[in-house]
Structures are given as C-alpha cells and as structure tokens.
Amino acid sequence: MSKPKNAVILTVILAMVIGLAPAATPQDAIRIAYIDPLSGPFAATGENGLNQFRYAAAAINTAGGVLGRKLELVPLDNKVSPQESLIQLKKVVGDGIQFVFQGNSSGVAHAISDAVQKHNERNAGNRILYLNYSAVDPALTNDKCHYWHFRFDAHADMKMAALTDIIQANKNLKKIYVLGQDYSFGKAVAEAAVGMLGKKRPDVQIVGNELHPIGKVKDFSPYIQKIVASGADAVITGNWGADMIGLAKAANDGGLKVPFYTYYAASDGVTAAIGAAGVDRIRLVHETHPGNPIPPKALSNYITGYRTLHPQNDVNQPRIHTGLNMLAQAIKRAGTTDPDKVAAALEGMEYTTLGGDTVVMRRDDHQLQMPIYISVHTNKGIKHDFDASGFGLSLESKVERDKATQPTTCKMQRPS
C-alpha cells in the first residue's frame, strides 16, 4: 500500500483515538457505581433496583449528604454478563469511582469479586470496594471471600436453613422437586436443599433435581409436566426475574397446585403473574419485613413514599436501603472515602434497619448477619401490595438473627 493512502488512514484513526477525552465531571459528589442489568430478560429487576438506590440516595442527600457531599449513582448496564460487567468495571476504575454496588446474578458477582480483588492487590493506591446487595451464592463469603467484598443480603444457605425448617415442620410433605437456574446460585440452592433436607427430614424423597439454562427458557410447560408426573408434594426453586415469571405462568396454565418454596417469587411482575392461583401456596424466604399485615412504621412510610414516586414499582429489596446507609455511615465514621479506611469502618458495624431489626456486618467474612423472614403470597390483609395487583406478601414466621447465622470457611486476608 502506498504511503499517502496509509498516512490518510492512519491520521483518521489517530483522530478517532484522540477523541477519547471524556467530558469533565463535577468532583463534588461521591460517585457510586451500580452495575446491574438494565436490558435483557432481567432488566425489570435491574431498573427497579436502580430506582430503589436512587430513592435511598435522595433521602440521604436531603438529610445533608455524606461528609457534606452528595451521593450520586452511576448506573452501568451489565446485561447479566460477567464479561460486560468487567468492561464496566474498567470504566469505573478509569473514572475514579471507588464504590461498586452489584447484585443481579451470582455469576457476575464472582467475576466482579475476583476482578476487584486482583485490581486491589495490584493497585494499592487506587482501590475499590465491592458491595454485593443481592448475589447470594454462599461461596462469595466462604472460599472466595476477600477484604474488599461486603454482602448485604442473607446468603442462600442462611435462607435455605429457614426454608427447610418450615418444610421439616410440615409432615404432609413427602416428595420434593428442586428446580433451578443452571449457574452458581441455582446449583448452590440445589446443593443446600438436598443436604439440609437430608439431615432434617431423611424421610422426604427428592423426586426431581433439575437445572435449566438461565434466562433462556420461554415455555416452562415441559418442566411443569415433569413436576406433575413425579408426584411431588412441593417445589423448591431459586428462580428469579423472567424465569420466575415464566415458571409461575406455566404452573398456572398447567394447573399445578402444590406449594412452592421460593427465594424470589414476588414483585417485578411475578406477583401479578401468580395472581389468585397462588394464594396461600407460594412462600418466600427473604430478609426484611414484608410490610404486611402490620408493617413497622419506618418501613411503611418508606414504601408509601416510594410508591408515590414509582407507581409501577415496589420496594422489593429493602436491603438496598440498608446497604447504602451502612456505606454512608462507614464513610462518615472513617472521615474519608479511602476504600481501605471505609472497609475498616464497615466491618463489625451495627445498624438498625427500616424494619426495626439490628443487623451486624460480621468481621470474619463480611456477611451481614440478619433475621430471616418467611412470607406467603396472599390478598388478605395486604396493606402494601406488589405489582399494583392487590396481592402481596404476608408475614408467616421469622427466624431471629442469632438463629439465622451460618458458619463460614473464610480465611480473610487483611491488608497490612
């Protein structure tokens, strides 16, 4: 190729590359990255989560902010892809953001946690904190724990312990079907279910243990057929997002009437999909008071305020409020946004949630210790419903914090 042609082309390329200077951003605000799906089959979960973060941040900002600075949420779409999340993470680092919240999908959480650990080990002056508000694969605070990761939701084993307790008490259940999404969290749920049921109710038969591709199955009727054919008395599933909606719809269509013990069968469209067919049948294990039948006052006001702003969404992840506020407090106590100092302030911190519970960030593994709630899908006595459907979650039982705690295998390496 002749020189002039090449020169022109190279100049054009250079011009493009030089245009990489980013627009100036104000340095006043404390910027917090939110890396979660804002498109794709789990967009509804991600967008509602973002709204809840913004709402919680607005409340903190109105009350004066943190160290005199406002909190600013920077949303980044990861499309539930571990890779896309890492690309966003590089942007986060490049932009000088020091705090990252993420929750949707444990698969992504593993990738981010790993990347954050590597980055922090290699760049001692430029660290970031990874605040996990919803990815509940227990491994993240067991083998894969590290100093800069904090989890604000009860992990899958904590929740399964509570679920298997109520199954243990129900002598009518003899055959259980376990169905989940084929990734780390789904596998963790299946393992915990089989293991814990085996210890608490050895007489219960696991008649099915199936994993399906996450976010890909559009028609769950074949799975419903299998559940019916197996003669199961109950179903345990960790499905969330579009997969839970699909499962609920297919269960209704197929006339499946057995109880479901779930992690995420409420809100973001799921409650509306279940509707009347699931009353008193679908149970959920989660981390905050469901708001019904008698909500704690602070929580009730928070929910009402949020619904005024977002009539189509629900406060289905109150742990977002907990997480953001605990971070804010940690920054205040540390007096700086230096991630190492903030992390030191965050470990061991006690906090009182909107629901009135005292939660503690355990030093050993950075897992927030909290009580576990079990609620049932119903339309009786519902003050705060989900999906504007008239149906919602009503509290059935609660496991106190000291009973809900699980041991950890974490060997936390602290920076010197």
Binding site: L38, S39, G40, P41, A43, A44, E47, E210, P213, K216, K218, D219, S221, P222, Y223, I224, Q225, K226, V228, A229, A242, I245, G246, D253, G254, G255, L256, G269, A272
Partner: protein, 316 residues
C-alpha cells in the same frame, strides 16, 4: 410416562406450528428471491409489539387483524427501499443488509417500547382450561394457536394453488425471467411476497407474544431456529417447512422431558461409560440438556449431506 408423552406431543405440535408460521414466510421469500431474510424474526417481533399497543386501545381481535397488516407493510417497505437497492451487489450483500435490518428493528423496538418485557396477556375470553388429562391441564389459548396456524397453512396452500396470483408467484419462483417477459411486474410480485411473508411472521408474533414473552430480545430467541427449520425443510419448499417445523418442535419438546443421560444410553447399549473425569462431563449430559443444540446439529448434518434440504430443490 404417558402423561409426559401426551402433553409433549401437544406442546410440541403447538411449538412446531408456531415455527411453521414463521418459517413459511421465510421459505417463500427465499424461494422467490434467493435472499435469506435475517430480519424475518424482526417482523415477528414487530407483530407482537404492534398487537400489544393496538390491543391497549382496540382490544385483542382488531389487533389480531391489524398488527400483521402493519408488519406486512413494514416488510414491503424494507424490500422496496432497501433490498431492491442491494440486490445487484449479490447474495452476500443482501444477507448483510438483512442482518443490519434485523439489528435496526431490535434497537428501534427497544427505543420505542423500552427494554423491559411488556405485559401482553392472553385475552380473557381465551384464558381458560380446555381440558384436563393425567392430572395436568391444557390451556385453550394453545389450542387457539394451533387452529390459527393450521388455518394459515390451508390458506397459503389455497392461494398458491388455486388463485391466479398464486400461480404467478409459483412461476416467479422458478422462472422469474420468463414471467417478466410475459408482462408481469416481477419486482412488484417480489414486494408483495416479501410483504406477505412479513405479515405471516407478524401474525406469528401476535399469537405467540403472550406465551413466549414480548421483549426486544424475542427475535433473537427464535431467529436461529427458524433458519434451521427452513434449511432442513428445504429452501423454497412449503411442505418441507411444514415437516421440518413439526419435527423440530416435537423433538425439542420431547427432549426437554427426558432425563436420560448419555451414560445411561451407553449403559443400555451394553457399553458402560468409563469413569474418567475428563469425559465425565460428556457422560452425565442428559438429553434434556442437549435439547437446545439438537436443531443445530441437525442443521449441520443436513447441510453437509443434502444441502438442498429434505424437500427442497434449490441450494442458493
């Protein structure tokens, strides 16, 4: 076992007929113009979204009629203003163009309707259980889907074989030059066929939207499978598309229901699976897990062995 078989056949039929609604248009377009329309599933998506929006104001039944028409018009426009220009650059350029159209449709839908899924529901009048068998129920809406698909099939066959326009279309399929010389406006015939194919895809979208979900990624979900169907059935052959759709629909639905693993099959055949860890992944693979890739395996095998497909007469 009988319960699973019975419902798998039914569900497989429904899924297969849905695939047929989609692939019939595609195979006609390919047969006519030699272009494999990557954007075909995009018109399926447009049909669903148009029906959702129209349904909010007009109700399900008027939307059922209007939405496919709109999708058809969109298809005709794409042919007239886009494909016709690219036609002279060759088949590869046409494929690339339709790929771009597919991308554009997906992004435009996300722009206009947003990324979260739309609550496009089954109309109340069809939302009941048709019958219960072996402890499980079969919804009436799926029977409705089946009816519409069969009606479409008969409609297409009738038009192609019994009307004058249909005869012209059939002739243009194999001898476009001759048809042009006889005085027919072949480009207009192409545009009409493209429009009808897109309208069929749109109709499939209207019907399938409530069942398979209405979201901007819905075209990608079915897009590849439709190509597989068309290629296996034979490019340009309607009967082939019908046979292949049913085959794939039933095989995939049955596959999900079976928990048999490769190791089990080998054991049954008398050759026990070795316990070596490296191949452990392969032995414990179940038929259900393999279900999503079976159509593609079939595609590759057919393309290698018989590139014209099961019933087709043309290759490219």
């Amino acid at each position: 076992m009988l319960q699973i078989a019975f419902f798998s056949v039914l569900n497989g039929l429904v899924y297969g007929m849905l695939l047929f609604m989609l692939s019939s248009g595609l195979t006609l377009i390919f047969g006519m113009m030699g272009v494999l329309n990557f954007a075909h599933a995009g018109f399926y998506m447009l049909g669903a979204y148009f029906a959702y929006s129209l349904g909010l104001y007009l109700g399900f039944w008027p939307a059922l009629v209007l939405a496919p028409l709109l999708a058809g018009v969109a298809g005709a426009a794409v042919e007239r203003f886009g494909l016709r220009r690219v036609h002279r650059f060759g088949h590869v350029a046409e494929l690339i163009f339709t790929f771009g159209v597919a991308l554009l449709i997906e992004e435009a839908v996300a722009l206009l309707w947003g990324r979260p899924a739309k609550t496009y529901e089954v109309p109340a009048v069809l939302d009941f259980t048709l019958f219960r068998a072996f402890g499980s129920s079969f919804p009436a809406y799926k029977a409705f889907m089946l009816l519409v698909a069969v009606a479409i099939f008969l409609f297409i066959v009738a038009i192609l074989t019994r009307t004058r326009a249909g005869l012209i279309i059939q002739a243009s399929l194999t001898h476009p030059g001759m048809v042009a010389m006889l005085g027919h406006n072949v480009p207009r015939v192409f545009m009409i066929v493209f429009g009808i194919g897109s309208a069929l895809a749109g109709l499939a979208g209207v019907i399938a939207g409530p069942v398979l979900g209405t979201f901007p990624g819905m075209a990608q979900v079915l897009g590849s499978i439709v190509f597989v169907v068309v290629v296996i059935g034979g490019l340009g052959s309607l009967t082939g598309a019908f046979a292949a759709s049913l085959l794939i629909g039933i095989v995939q639905t049955f596959a999900v229901a079976l928990d048999v693993s490769v190791g089990d099959v080998l054991m049954a055949l008398g050759t026990p699976a070795s316990a070596s860890a490296a191949l452990h992944d392969v032995w414990k693979v179940t038929v259900a897990q393999v279900a999503p890739i079976m159509p593609f395996l079939l595609l590759i095998v057919v393309l290698m062995v018989r590139p014209t497909g099961l019933f087709g007469t043309r290759e490219t």
